[in-house]
């Protein structure tokens, strides 16, 4: 009640100051009238009565003043009037205000945008129930330090059965697959999940029901989006049939649109709880688990360690050195992007720092201009607080306006960021500005205000009236300290910008190195078709492979196409496999370190179509069938890794892809970079499609064309559909795939370059501001020198030399910082050392030129000082 009164009364008096004052005045007057009347009634004359009343009660003005100064609103009022004053000052100094606001808008906007991404991806909890109890299982080899996301089927089951700290464990597999609907087929991510999946995530269907163990291979859940797109509504989807890998599957339920695990999954097909893969060496499954509410990751880890030990004892062959780990889902999901995002954050923090330095500098100039005003205030008895408050308020006002403008900038910036981001960026659809970001921006603005006004405020508080009123900057009489401080700010700014520029130069150099890299194959003029022929049984698979070979023949006849081949394991492609292999006949055999290779399954003509040179032996041919002896082609790295200098042709190779038959090496081909241009050329084991039909129904068809690859797309689509209308297809080009594979590198390089650009702009502003101010201050001195016959060149040279000197100090400091920070970015560089002299030189030169360019205009102005005008005006 009373708090309410405090508030409303205060506000009322604040809103209607005049009425409040009138009321107080009338009350005080009435009091004094009554007092006089009382004296008169005791017999005094009117004049004496007034005197007596005054004597007793003091003057009316003092009483009014006292009554008026009661209440919180008076503090508010003085604050508001200071604020109004600050606002008026800012409006009066438009250039200062605009520059400072814009600078801060850039700095804060960049920070708000990057923080939006960081908050949404790294900081906010996953949109799953009790997401902090969700774990991903990984397999770790203690001897090699290698870690694989996922488990083998039997290991997963053992963990599920034995781990008491895990409430539920679900094994899943799957990936991009063709799904056949009634009249067409689509490409989408299909995940095969067991009945525990829904328990792990505490899922609730929005239509229909969840999966049970009895549903295996018969039922599936689909996403809300999939149901809408293909059946019109979530309800309509329930009961519909799909075909996945040639199996008819009924949709029994629909999951809400915000559930997206594994990322992009649209169809979750039921698989049995007992995994179909019984090998303890085949990592066919990924696994998620929910910890019991009583368990922590610590206890789960300890328990899994014990289980891993027992498995190692029970299966000394397959489980040697194998350890199963439980990692928080959040970490597993976002771990890969963390360094990139933090790196970007550091970059924008630097920008903000530069912006702060700029604004500090602007404030200092302002403070110097108003030094006389402050000195007079001090001389008249203002306290330090009273002098500092307007300075800080002014800066606060600028940062808040800058922050608001920054948020406005952040909206489009976030949209651009999301559009540019590589598709591996997790949780992309969750990225949006929210209350956290606004709070962060507000805090940042206030912090910026304090950071950029602390020096000017301290200076304002230290203003010595006597000294200040004596000196006159316009006559060239300034204290040394002021100049040193401003120069120091410029040096700091140049140094921070150089760090950004070096980062940008390093990443751009990396991009250039990647673009020039020899992939080991020809990427130009190559159309790629992702093709998935439905197959379930071995017969289906054989039929699909035969069909594909028919398709290759027909596609070769399409005008514009020169070569056609099929491949599972295309470089940068979606499908692929890798694992251990063994060889006989040569090389030292190390049982603990089985050699590792990428596995690819190809059709004859693949190497020719791709432009991968056959170094020795032969390509696959039509004579290599499932009836003939098994053969393999190996890459040069594999030959070197396993056979050293001996002739690999005729040697035997065995791998666990799908059959353990020994294969004879019939050819050696050049190495390729498998994952992206950033990958090193590595060992690859090629096998013919006919002999591995299980890996031959879901392939990439590569077509070497004489024309623009995409122009033959329609002809290719029709040809394939004519042979089998149920083959799901997706088209792209090899160039596009390679381009996508370095999306992360490009994202980083593009962002850091634009940040460096912003940094350069700010640094330029900073140098310009300092130089322009110095020249303006020295107008008198320059006038004197010119009157004595100084050359214009000498004066311009003096200004430029000063700027160059500051820039060089800044560059030297920045280079030192860059070298210290360089090792943080090592992992992001390819083909470039963190101390790459070219990048360092380019960045330094850029900074020096920027500084000189910024100093040019003030320097020019200095040479045009008219001695007569300068001397007379002073």
């Amino acid at each position: 009640m009373s708090l309410w009164r405090q508030l409303t009364y205060g506000l009322r008096s604040l809103m209607n100051r005049a009425k409040h004052d009138r009321d107080v005045a009338e009350e005080v007057e009435q009091y004094f009238e009554e007092a006089e009347a009382a004296w008169r009634s005791r017999g005094l004359s009117a004049k004496d009565a007034r005197r007596a009343a005054r004597l007793e009660a003091g003057t009316m003005a003092v009483a009014k003043e006292r009554v008026n100064s009661y209440g919180w609103e008076n503090t508010a009022r003085s604050f508001l009037s200071d604020l109004r004053f600050a606002g008026r000052q800012l409006l009066k100094h438009k250039v200062f205000t605009a520059t400072a606001t814009l600078t801060l808008a850039l700095g804060i906007g960049a920070n708000a945008a990057i923080f939006t991404v960081i908050q949404s991806v790294l900081l906010s909890p996953l949109p799953y129930k009790n997401a902090d109890k969700l774990a991903v299982l990984q397999t770790h080899w203690t001897n090699s330090g290698h870690t694989k996301v996922g488990v083998t089927g039997p290991d997963g089951v053992d963990v599920r059965d034995q781990a008491k700290s895990l409430e539920a464990v679900s094994l899943y597999s799957g990936g991009n697959l063709g799904v056949q609907l009634r009249d067409h087929s689509v490409y989408t991510v299909v995940t095969f999940v067991d009945a525990n999946f829904a328990r792990v995530f505490s899922l609730q269907p929005i239509a229909g029901r969840l999966l049970t163990d009895g549903d295996a291979h018969h039922a599936a859940l689909v996403s809300e989006e999939f149901a809408r797109d293909h059946f019109g509504s979530t309800q309509a989807a329930v009961g519909q049939m799909l075909q996945v890998e040639n199996e008819p599957v009924e949709i029994v339920g629909v999951l809400p649109g915000n559930f997206d695990f594994p990322a992009q999954t649209r169809v979750w097909e039921a698989f049995p709880l007992r995994p179909e893969s019984e090998e303890r060496t085949a990592f066919n499954y990924k696994a998620v688990a929910r910890l019991r509410s009583s368990a922590t990751f610590q206890t789960a880890e300890t328990e899994l360690l014990g289980i891993s030990r027992r498995l190692e004892t029970a299966y000394p062959g397959a489980n040697r050195n194998k350890q199963i780990l439980a990692r928080p889902v959040h970490e597993a999901l976002t771990g890969d992007t963390r360094p990139t995002l933090l790196f970007l954050w550091a970059a924008v923090a630097l920008i903000l720092l530069i912006a702060c330095v700029n604004v500090t500098h602007l404030q200092l100039v302002r403070a110097m201009e108003r030094q006389r005003e402050l000195a007079i205030r001090r001389a008249l008895g203002s306290s330090s607080r009273q002098v500092i408050q307007p300075v800080i308020l002014e800066s606060l006002l600028v940062s808040l306006v800058g922050g608001a403008a920054g948020v406005l900038l952040a909206f489009p910036a976030v949209r651009v960021l999301v559009a540019m981001a590589p598709k591996e960026l997790p949780r992309m659809n969750e990225i949006h500005l929210n209350g956290w970001v606004l709070g962060f921006t507000l805090a940042l603005s206030v912090l910026t205000a304090l950071a950029s006004s602390i020096l000017p405020a301290l200076k304002a508080a230290r203003v010595d009236p006597a000294e200040t009123l004596k000196q006159d900057a316009s006559r060239g009489m300034t204290r040394q300290g002021a100049t040193t401080l401003r120069d120091g700010l410029v040096i700091a700014e140049v140094a921070a910008t150089l760090v950004l520029a070096v980062g940008a130069a390093l990443l751009l150099h990396t991009m250039m190195a990647l673009a020039e890299r020899d992939m080991g194959y020809q990427t130009r003029q190559l159309l790629v078709v992702d093709a998935d022929a439905p197959a379930h049984s071995e017969q289906d698979a054989h039929r699909a492979v035969r069909q594909f070979h028919d398709i290759f023949l027909q596609l070769a006849a399409v005008p514009g196409v020169t070569q056609v081949a099929g491949i599972m394991g295309l470089p940068t492609g979606a499908y692929g496999s890798n694992g251990y292999y063994t060889v006989t006949g040569a090389g030292p055999v190390d049982v603990n370190h089985s050699p590792y290779a990428d596995f690819s399954v190809a059709s004859p003509g693949y190497f020719r179509a791709m432009g991968i040179p056959v170094k020795r032996g032969r390509d696959f041919s039509a004579q290599d069938t499932d009836q003939s002896p098994f053969v393999a082609v190996i890459s040069e790295s594999l030959a070197k890794q396993s056979f050293g200098n001996t002739d690999p042709l005729g040697k035997q190779v065995q791998c666990g892809l799908d059959s353990d038959k020994w294969m004879t090496v019939v050819g050696v081909v050049g190495d390729v970079r498998q994952d992206s241009p950033a990958a090193n050329p590595g060992p690859t084991l090629y096998m013919p499609m006919t002999q591995h039909p299980y890996y031959g129904n879901q392939i990439h068809i590569v077509l070497r064309t004489e024309v623009q690859p995409l122009t033959v797309m329609n002809a290719v689509r029709e040809t394939i559909a004519r042979v089998n209308p149920f083959i799901a297809m997706r088209f792209t080009t090899m160039d596009a795939m390679v381009n996508t594979s370095i999306a992360t590198e490009r994202f980083r390089a593009a962002l850091i370059s634009s940040f460096a650009g912003v940094g350069l702009l700010l640094a330029m502003l900073g140098v310009y501001g300092t130089m322009a101010y110095t020249v303006a201050q020295r107008t008198f001195e320059i006038g004197v020198r010119m009157a004595f016959g100084a050359e214009r060149g000498a004066i311009l040279g003096g200004v430029l030399a000063h700027a160059a000197k500051l820039a060089c100090y800044g560059i030297a400091l920045g280079l030192g910082l860059s070298l210290m920070l360089a090792r943080l970015v090592t992992s992001m560089l390819v083909g470039v050392r963190p101390t790459d002299p070219i990048s360092l030189c380019v960045a330094s030169l850029l900074l020096l030129l920027t500084a000189l360019a910024a100093a040019l205009a003030p320097g020019w102005r200095a040479t045009h000082v008219d001695p007569m005008v300068a001397l007379r005006s002073a």
Binding site: S2, E27, F32, R66, Y70
Partner: protein
């Protein structure tokens, strides 16, 4: 001002105002005069302090104020004790009595 006149003891002004107003609604000068009369001139009330205190008490919700005419038809701000004000007065009176008698006992023991 004579030496016998003292300013109101720190912290008791509120209580004196509340007590005075518990009899009847009054304006500022009325309160001052009443305090002076009843204390037989021991306490003098300064208008600055009094009117500020009235504002404070009003905002605390212990007093209500309204503009009315005095008997000589001068517009004046009259203060009325509210129910919470009455409660507050009771509390302060009890508290004061307790303290005053404690001090009296102490002084007696010393003497």
């Amino acid at each position: 001002m004579t030496d016998a006149n003292t300013d109101v003891i720190q912290g008791t002004l509120d209580m004196l105002i509340l007590k005075t107003l518990s009899l009847e609604p009054m304006h500022g000068f009325g309160i001052a005069r009443r305090v002076e009369q009843i204390s037989r001139g021991v306490f003098k009330v300064n208008p600055g302090s009094l009117l500020t205190a009235l504002q404070r008490l009003e905002r605390a919700g212990w007093l209500d104020a309204e503009w009315r005419r005095t008997e000589n038809s001068r517009r004046a701000k009259f203060y009325t004790l509210t129910r919470t004000g009455r409660k507050q007065l009771e509390e302060e009176t009890a508290d004061w009595t307790r303290r005053a008698s404690a001090i009296a006992r102490l002084l007696k023991a010393e003497g």
